[in-house]
């Protein structure tokens, strides 16, 4: 990093972190190609893309929040909430009577609700000055609780091809949600690099005092980050529901906050803020998913994968902290 003299594009600034991430990715791919049976098949790619997409979408939102120096623990709960709402809507009398409108509302309303969750988190942090962990811990628990109350804890199964397209549709032979994640990444990337909001986001995370003294709208920027994060989480929740053609409020998005934080940190986001490597978050999500897949495909239990993930998080943050020091 020290020799960086000329820098062309913002992503290049992620420097060695990303290179480390890419290296890890290559190693994982090579290992899998050699060891894991049936790894080099299209089916594997599809499975992984559809998994990566949800993690990546949430991780991108998390990256924005982390860029402000915050954290959002409520992403998984918001996923469950949004995921529980959608089937409730299109399975309702209204949804059955007007199928097209029902599906449309089933897309939009959960996202609006998710947005309000983000507003709640953001206001707690930016207006009331509560530490992000505690502020978002409230919805971390209650959000899922609300989802379970709404569905009475029942698994909602449905058959709604229009809605399921979100999770099972394909464009050019690749899963729809993969394209969606990519599109979101592009939009966010452009927002961060080309708009005043994006500039302020990084400024607030980089030096909040300086951003404030230079006229930056610190509060608005922070709230915005939490709202976007929540809306993206809501979208991820819808995707999970669409993939399964079923909504399980207890499991949808469970432990997603950890995946998202891990993906963001592995992707190069600094916990103290000031960086928003959007494509890094995708890379991080791919790595997290590949680790999970590698372990599973090689007969390692799901549970051990959890421990592996815990180690990844600790290692990534530890490396970060050491660099800072």
């Amino acid at each position: 990093m020290d020799q960086t003299v000329s820098i062309e594009k913002p992503p290049a600034r992620l420097g060695s972190r990303i290179h480390g991430g890419l290296l890890a990715l290559v190693l994982l791919l090579v290992f899998n190609a050699l060891v894991t049976p049936n790894f080099l098949q299209l089916q594997t790619l599809f499975v992984n893309i559809s998994q990566v997409a949800t993690i990546a979408i949430v991780a991108m939102g998390m990256t924005l929040v982390i860029a402000t120096g915050g954290i959002d623990l409520s992403v998984g709960a918001v996923m469950a909430l949004a995921g529980a709402l959608a089937p409730l809507i299109f399975l309702s009398e209204f949804g059955v009577a007007y199928p097209a409108l029902g599906v449309a509302v089933a897309f939009i309303l959960p996202l609006i609700v998710a947005g309000f969750c983000g507003l709640f988190n953001g206001a707690m942090v930016a207006v009331l000055g509560i530490q992000p962990i505690i502020a978002t811990l409230i919805l971390f628990i209650s959000g899922r609780g609300i989802a379970q109350v709404l569905t009475n804890g029942n698994l909602q199964t449905f058959s709604n091809p229009a809605f399921s397209y979100l999770g099972t549709g394909k464009i050019l032979g690749l899963p729809f949600q993969g394209w969606l994640a990519l599109a979101i990444a592009c939009v966010l990337f452009l927002t961060i690099t080309r708009t005043t909001w994006g500039r302020y986001l990084l400024a607030v995370g980089g030096n909040e005092r300086a951003a404030f003294l230079s006229g930056g709208p610190v509060r608005r920027v922070k709230i915005g980050a939490y709202v976007i994060c929540a809306v993206l989480s809501g979208l991820a929740g819808l995707i999970v529901v669409a993939i399964n053609s079923a909504s399980d409020a207890a499991r949808n998005g469970n432990l997603m906050e950890l995946d998202a934080i891990a993906a963001a940190v592995v992707g190069g986001a600094l916990l103290q803020g000031g960086r928003a490597p959007i494509f890094g978050a995708i890379l991080g999500a791919i790595i997290i998913q590949l680790v999970k897949y590698t372990l599973l495909a090689n007969g390692v239990e799901d549970e051990v994968a959890l421990i592996a993930k815990a180690l990844i998080i600790v290692a990534a943050v530890w490396i970060q902290q050491r660099r800072k020091a």
């Binding site: 820098i7 708009t195 302020y200 990084l202 400024a203 980089g206 300086a210 951003a211 003294l213």
Partner: protein, 509 residues
């Protein structure tokens, strides 16, 4: 001698902070340590208390060579420090803050609170303080808190107490209490190392004074044989006779050509550090705020820019009264504020030169939230060229630039917004001589275009040569005015020295 430090060397990342500095303190002596910002006072103290390691030099304390490695070791050796930001825990009780870590125990294990309270009361009683020691420390005034810190030091059998700016947030009555305590310490044979920017009070309480400048010890004098003028001259590295002589010469001269009034502030107060500030700023004029550290210069700037809320007084811009709710409003009202602390309040280290430079300009650079990159690059290029900012290219992270170039970027951040009123707080601190001259020239050019500047600087030379008028500030108030041409550095020094001395006794409120 109780303490003797000689030939102390210390550098940070190759930059020398202390070059052969030293100090000698006798038992029961109240010894003042003074110097400009960056003279090396706090580095010297931190080496003594084990916060920093010295690179070279000798320290002996109470007759033994001292090899203190941590604050706790210093404490156990008998050196107690009362830091400027109090090193106490306001949420906890007075007693706890006094006995913490050294609690009286029953059965060798459980804290005997009754005994702890009794001991605390007893120590405080020595200083004529009678308070509820079970109440949280934070519920008492700063003065009491400071006295509690001293009580802790005494309870640990300190032989020397270091006080860093102990009076900076005390009122007159509280200062009296503090001085009473210091005299009490003195009578018990405890030495006090007293660091202060308020020179007047040194005469009242200190025996000797050591002056530091540029990491070196300049001189040590008996206070009874010195004057405030001498001390200021030592701090600034001037000849006192010259200062005195020039100070006698004619004040002022023809006033600079100035336009109509742009900003008028009257009786502005924001708290104990800014009690009454008056300023009239004309178009095309640089007004300097002259004063020592702690005189309220920075607080005045923050009040003008809407960072600190005003408690009383009024501010008018172009004749219209204005109440600013924050920097964003100040900027849209046509103001700019180059803050004093470049690192904490100025640069965003990981962002590029370009992004740092246009941060304040962003609202004007964007349409519909979209940044106009073409215009941005054009503006940045222009400023890099005209200000001669040395950077590989505009996308280099600002943290990789030298201090002077960082400062130029920050100056450009504000020049780019073309504020009618530009407040510069220490615009040339920590930059090399070349960059300094350049920055001064840009400011001068800017004013020639009809803009107005408020200039704050610890370097009197800069203020005297740079400003058209100088508001003299003393202890949170604007107390006088000097008008160029004709003002010399020595005149400003003597204006500062006169104030307070002229009144025979220093007063505070």
């Amino acid at each position: 001698m109780l303490l003797s430090m000689t030939g102390i060397e210390k550098s940070f990342g190759g930059v020398p902070a202390l070059r052969g500095a030293g100090i000698e303190i006798a038992p029961g002596e109240v010894h003042a340590l003074i110097g400009q910002n960056g003279a090396g006072k706090s580095t010297l103290i931190k080496i003594l208390t084990g916060v920093y390691r010295r690179d070279g030099g000798e320290i002996s304390f109470a007759g033994h060579p001292s090899e203190v490695l941590s604050p706790r070791e210093a404490q156990e050796a008998g050196i107690a420090t009362i830091y400027q930001e109090l090193n106490l825990v306001p949420l906890r009780s007075v007693t706890e803050n006094v006995v913490m870590g050294y609690e009286p125990k029953a059965f060798g294990m459980l804290i005997n609170w009754r005994e702890a309270h009794r001991r605390t009361r007893e120590i405080l009683a020595r200083f004529d303080i009678d308070i509820d020691v079970t109440a949280p420390l934070g519920s008492f005034s700063t003065a009491i808190q400071q006295l509690v810190a001293i009580a802790r030091a005494v309870s640990l059998d300190a032989q020397m107490v270091i006080m860093d700016e102990p009076t900076s947030s005390l009122d007159a009555k509280e200062v009296e209490i503090l001085f009473g305590v210091i005299r009490e310490l003195k009578s018990q044979g405890v030495a006090v190392l007293y660091v202060s920017h308020f020179l007047d009070e040194l005469f009242e309480i200190c025996d000797r004074v050591t002056v530091m400048r540029d990491g070196q010890t300049i001189t040590t004098r008996q206070l009874s044989e010195t004057t405030k003028l001498d001390m200021i001259a030592d701090m600034l590295g001037r000849n006192p006779d010259e200062v005195a002589a020039e100070g006698m010469t004619e004040f002022g001269g023809a006033a600079a050509k100035r336009g109509p009034v742009r900003l008028h502030a009257e009786g502005v107060a924001t708290g104990p550090r800014l009690k009454r500030f008056d300023l009239t700023l004309h178009e095309g004029e640089i007004v300097g705020l002259g004063g020592l550290l702690g005189s309220g210069r920075t607080e005045a700037a923050r009040a003008l820019f809407g960072v600190d809320a005003t408690q009383s007084g009024s501010i008018e811009i172009e004749g219209a009264p204005i109440r600013l709710e924050g920097p964003a409003e100040a900027i849209s009202a046509g103001m700019g504020f180059l803050a004093e602390d470049r690192k904490a309040e100025g640069i965003i280290p990981d962002m590029s030169v370009r992004e740092n430079l246009t941060l304040a300009l962003l609202p004007k650079l964007a349409s519909g939230g979209q940044i106009d990159f073409g215009r941005e690059r054009e503006i940045v290029e222009r400023f890099i060229r005209t200000l001669g900012i040395k950077t590989a290219d505009m996308d280099q992270p600002i943290r990789e630039l030298s201090g002077g170039n960082q400062q130029k970027v920050l100056l450009a951040r504000w020049l780019a917004t073309e504020p009618e009123i530009l407040i510069l707080d220490e615009p040339t601190r920590g930059v090399d001589v070349g960059a300094k001259r350049e920055i001064q020239a840009f400011v001068r050019d800017y004013v020639k275009k009809g803009f107005s500047v408020v200039l704050i600087s610890s370097e009197f030379e800069e203020i005297v040569e740079g400003a058209d008028r100088i508001i003299v500030m003393h202890e949170g108030r604007s107390v006088g005015e000097l008008t160029n041409p004709g003002v010399t550095e020595n005149m400003l020094v003597s204006a500062l020295a006169q104030h307070g001395e002229g009144g025979a006794e220093w007063t505070r409120q």
